[in-house]
Symmetry: C2
Amino acid sequence: MSTTIREIAEKTGVSITTISQILNGKGDRFSEATRKKVLHAAEQMKYKPNFFAKNMIKNHTNTIGMVVPEVTDAFFSQLVKGAEDYLNGEGYMIMLCNSSNDTKREDHYIEELLHRAVDGLIIASPHILDSEVFTRLKDKRCPFILLDRERNERQEGRIAVDDFAGGYEATKHLIDLGHRDIGIIVSDASFYNVFERFEGYRKAMQEHSLPVLEKWIVSGDQTMQGGLDATRKLFEQDAQVTAIFATNDLMATGAYRYAYEEGIAIPETLSVIGFDDIELAAFMTPPLTTIRQPIYEMGALAAKALLGKIEHPEEAMPNHLLKLDLIERSSTKRFDSGSSSTV
Amino acid sequence: MSTTIREIAEKTGVSITTISQILNGKGDRFSEATRKKVLHAAEQMKYKPNFFAKNMIKNHTNTIGMVVPEVTDAFFSQLVKGAEDYLNGEGYMIMLCNSSNDTKREDHYIEELLHRAVDGLIIASPHILDSEVFTRLKDKRCPFILLDRERNERQEGRIAVDDFAGGYEATKHLIDLGHRDIGIIVSDASFYNVFERFEGYRKAMQEHSLPVLEKWIVSGDQTMQGGLDATRKLFEQDAQVTAIFATNDLMATGAYRYAYEEGIAIPETLSVIGFDDIELAAFMTPPLTTIRQPIYEMGALAAKALLGKIEHPEEAMPNHLLKLDLIERSSTKRFDSGSSSTV
């Protein structure tokens, strides 16, 4: 065990109460000699205040709780890294929890983290949070920031990307390449951001007087397997598309996998565009054209805003609307209307 | 703020000290009436003991610290998930820290976690730990388990895979397919497990009276980019191989990317085998033949052993030597010696 105040007391002959007050900077009323003796002994004996005892007094843990839906998802692990790198630089640690996209588990974790007296919370959630959770956060006076895909209304600390514009841009890229019959893979779950991407797709199609056929729209889990299953559905319902907009990169990976199985060449016969620009996107074969979200930066910005709030609770956290960029790689290609459609 | 003991005192007229003792189950010397009054008020007022205060007494946090080299690496996020799922099921949370493969940062995190009085530590590390770290762990009486690729010697809590056997099996698979000129991508850093895989490769080659040419051995970062760079090196030094053993799947992804760039067909012209079987392996095009490590299970086993140690400190943690399996997919193919080699 590390040195305790009791051991310092034994060594110096000074009472525990006195030592405790001196070590906590409240020893003004004791003699200079006593203070020197105690501080010298503490230094010699490498005394380090017990974390809990210290925090009973300072009420500060230098720990930020972070809840993410799925740490194995490349998007979220990148988000965590952005937050962590920033926080580490400022002397904070992250207590990371995985909600597995489950609302109850998420609520439970937020509750547990509050109970553990973290200094603040970063909550990455695809859900509308229970109003009770907000009440708890407020009651505990725990600063928090949401990375919630714009699900929960608020006036400060919004770190958002324009999913609608991203969906529009992805679709317009395909239309500009001459594609007319464009499938879209959306999410099974009702994620607001995916809905926005879909609306962007619909707007781009409408603006170019293109219909959106029901058979072009498929949904699945936002995973590689989900993308594979959704692409299979698309082809099995004879969608006749020449291009696919996968609303995240993992699903695009599944589309590649389906195309490989069926001998469909990307981009020669089928163009695919993703969304996110996870690290993998540049390493897919062919490298994936996608809409880049500044994921790492979002994590870092959330961490920065939260620390600002912890230091200046009276100031509102800044809002950020981040830019999305089209990253053109090799998975999309000009559609030659002379060739037959693929599905 | 939540209900405090002070508020219960105000409501009941009982002293803070008495209430504290009653709520901590040490109130036997008080009257039944007083005890009932206090417990009833605490229930009514939804009193929840302050986490730090409670832990000053119980010295138990239900928190496990976990240090990993890189949470964005699919291998480690899978390992974390295995540990987390097990721990959550047992009512524990994980405080996750990312060492970024840096020994100093790792030491610092272990120290910080100890300072935060976690109940135990899971340390996933590619390093030999500083002996001071072990001393600290011992001094703090903090149970820990290492997922350290067999770097640190110990008698209990070894969760290992036979990397040598895995390297041997991967290479033998290629030899059995008729390959003779087999390149290997190892790690820049001196990771013990990668060295073992390399030794397995060497043994398989020797057993089949095949030479191991220096130009067949390249190294890089254990990342997708590292695999790409290493494969480029291999080809630029005119290695003349027909197959590559990438000692992890991420590096295999980089090899695919190089082959794509250069128009080299996998597996028709070049066979590639990986190591790990991360989720991505099954979704690569072509799906990657690899050596499966039971990553999720390793995380869960480590968590289980650690909790066992926390409950029964006197008992040794079990050792596990886990099986590696060859997963044959589509990235390796019989080499027809009639065709020319590729590099």
